[in-house]
């Protein structure tokens, strides 16, 4: 370990400890009368205003893994990796009108998870269970990947071994257990301040040192020209343009189906907070775009990723670039930004997964009469289990496995769109049709992912999400995003099954929500649990 790395480690360590202390103090911040309910522990009392929500959702969606993986993608493939920018431009206007409906109906009915909504809307605990399991399965590898973000910075500091990761996650688990959603909400302020600082310095300073942006793009193009791969370059080509647009759209459609995004939305205190945030959150997209360009800067600076066991780890290029360009103390700050950037989403994701388990599995199938305090207790414990699981995933399995799973996660979470997303807008679908569509979409998506090879990593299966249309017998090199294709299968099956079930007059669930519930705002009356269901059954 060199003296340079020692400085980095000290700065990193000090900031990390500071933030951890903040996580524990957060329980006292905007102190509620009691922490013993999911509304308080899991949703911060549903009381967050515009600023807190902006930091919270920003910290939630733009994760440490994003900061490390997006530039790695741009470093390796060029323009195709820049899809993260159109993705995060498209998403907010796309969900603007839908999320306010979700907030309103959840406010009236006290929903904590997307599966809570589906249960009430379609009168089907089984459909809700499927949605909950899909959400948990899609979120778990995402949490594990946050560790990959921390690991990349530790590797670049020359720290090896698993102990530091275990300690970091143990601390995270402890303060999430104690403070709930308030912890990531408070830490998000520090995380974002650090990220903005580092990125602004990086994009002003590094290109200047490398001879200007023109030179950075020139060096990148020169590198891509030399590689045998036809798909890379600083521009898209005829075969990957459609995939680029579909990946951006598909990712945008998927983003707010993830349970942790819903948690961030439901924690806000009224509809206007959400609308304002839909307008203000793209500020993060700007930073994300600049971060993506770090990939080209790394090329221009001649960075070579750290190689372990013969495999180059592309995720190390951003940490290495910082190490190469910045003075050691500022590199420490930059690493801390990435490390802390992992803690915020990991905390929110584990809370969201725990809430799904508590509300839609434990309460539904084990303890129908669970009290609010019991729900909070179960969620707190499950959030610990989820984190242990994430650490185990990284330590026991090849991290590549988590990356593959996360890729699959995006495709499978999209299969909840008809129930959750369309369900917010229309009650046309039959619950049986939604289940059939979900199953068909999942099967189609997994089959396509299985069929995708990756020649650069010598993998025969699960090599990416760009599905070549030639696999279906078309004479073309065009690739498309698996998630959207699977969603189309889902929708077609869902519509046909709904038409059939309606034609044979199959029993459908009772909708416990009313049209007016979707426009309710802060201060409007809430229904107490169960009254609507009872009313509906009597009617």
């Amino acid at each position: 370990m060199t003296g340079r790395h020692l400085t980095e480690i000290i700065v990193f360590g000090v900031l990390f400890v500071l933030v951890s202390a903040l996580g524990f103090v957060a329980a006292r911040w905007r102190r509620p009368d009691t922490m013993h309910s999911l509304d308080e522990w899991g949703l911060g009392g549903r009381s967050f205003g515009s600023w807190i929500t902006w930091f919270l959702i920003g910290g939630d969606l733009y994760t440490a893994y994003t900061f490390v993986a997006v530039p790695a993608l741009v470093f390796g493939a060029g323009a195709a990796g820049f899809y993260a920018v159109p993705y995060t431009v498209v998403v907010y206007p796309l969900v603007f009108l839908v999320l306010i409906r979700l907030w309103s109906v959840s406010h009236v009915h006290g929903f904590v998870t997307p599966a809570d909504f589906v249960r009430a809307r379609f009168g089907s605990p089984l459909l809700a269970l499927l949605i909950a399991i899909t959400g948990i399965v899609a979120t778990m590898p995402y949490i594990a990947l946050q560790l990959v973000g921390i690991e990349a910075t530790l590797k670049a500091m020359g720290v090896t071994g698993h102990l530091p990761i275990i300690i970091a996650f143990a601390i995270l688990a402890a303060y999430t257990y104690q403070s709930g959603l308030r912890a990531p909400a408070l830490i998000a302020f520090i995380k974002d301040a650090l990220i903005y600082l580092v990125i602004i310095v990086a994009v002003l300073y590094i290109p200047h040192k490398l001879g200007g942006w023109g030179h950075v793009f020139g060096a990148a193009q020169a590198k891509f020209d030399k590689t045998p791969a036809p798909a890379d370059g600083t521009l898209l080509n005829a075969n990957n343009q459609l995939n680029y647009a579909m990946l951006a759209l598909g990712s945008a459609l998927a983003l707010f189906l993830y349970p942790h995004s819903v948690t961030g939305v439901l924690a806000s205190k009224n509809r206007n907070v959400i609308k304002r945030n839909m307008a203000a959150l793209p500020a993060y997209s700007f930073v994300l775009g600049l971060i993506a360009l770090l990939g080209f800067m790394a090329i221009a600076a001649g960075i070579k990723p750290i190689t372990a066991k013969g495999k180059a780890d592309g995720n190390t290029i951003v940490p290495l670039l910082f190490d190469h360009m910045f003075p050691s103390w500022f590199t420490g700050v930059a690493y801390a930004a990435i490390g802390i950037g992992a803690l915020v989403p990991a905390a929110i994701m584990s809370i969201a997964a725990a809430n799904l388990f508590t509300r839609n599995i434990y309460r539904e199938y084990f303890r129908r009469d669970a009290s609010e305090a019991e729900e909070a207790k179960v969620s707190k414990l499950v959030s610990l289990v989820v984190k242990v699981g994430a650490v185990a995933c990284i330590l026991l399995l090849d991290p590549q496995f988590s990356i593959d799973l996360q890729l699959i996660g995006g495709v499978i979470i999209l299969q909840t769109l008809p129930s959750v997303g369309l369900g917010l807008v229309t009650r046309w679908f039959h619950r049986g049709g939604l289940m059939a569509g979900w199953a068909a979409g999942l099967a189609a998506g997994l089959w396509m992912l299985y069929r995708i090879p990756n020649p650069t990593t010598h993998k025969a299966h699960f090599g990416g999400s760009a599905y070549p249309l030639s696999d279906l017998g078309f004479d073309t090199k065009v690739t498309v995003y698996t998630g959207i294709l699977a969603l189309l299968v889902n929708l077609v099956v869902g519509v046909i099954a709904t038409l059939v079930l309606k034609a044979v007059k199959a029993a459908d669930g009772v909708d416990a929500t009313r049209p007016d519930d979707y426009y309710a705002d802060e201060g409007d009356p809430k229904v107490t649990t169960g009254t609507r269901e009872i009313e509906a059954e009597l009617a």
Binding site: A79, V89, V90, Y92, K275, M278
Partner: protein
């Protein structure tokens, strides 16, 4: 419970909402911006155009928010 409450029926309908279509569609039309020239401060068009779409997205959602918010007299704390 009979529907006797006198609260007017509410809704989110507004012609301003159509403005949201613009930032959803434009960034997906890759043929519009998949070019190198013109460059801006060394950035190929492909990159700076997509940065510009962020501004387009912010502008459209901001206008829709301002035009459709309720109870604009109430200040949020």
């Amino acid at each position: 419970m009979a529907e006797t409450n006198t609260r007017p029926r509410r809704g989110d309908r507004s012609p301003w909402n159509w403005l949201l279509v613009l930032p959803v569609v434009v960034p997906l039309l890759t043929f519009l911006f998949n070019k190198d020239k013109p460059r801006l401060a060394g950035f190929p068009f492909f990159y700076w155009a997509q940065f510009a779409f962020i501004i387009l997205g912010v502008s459209c959602t901001t206008v829709v928010y301002l035009m459709t918010r309720r109870g604009s007299g109430k200040k949020e704390g």
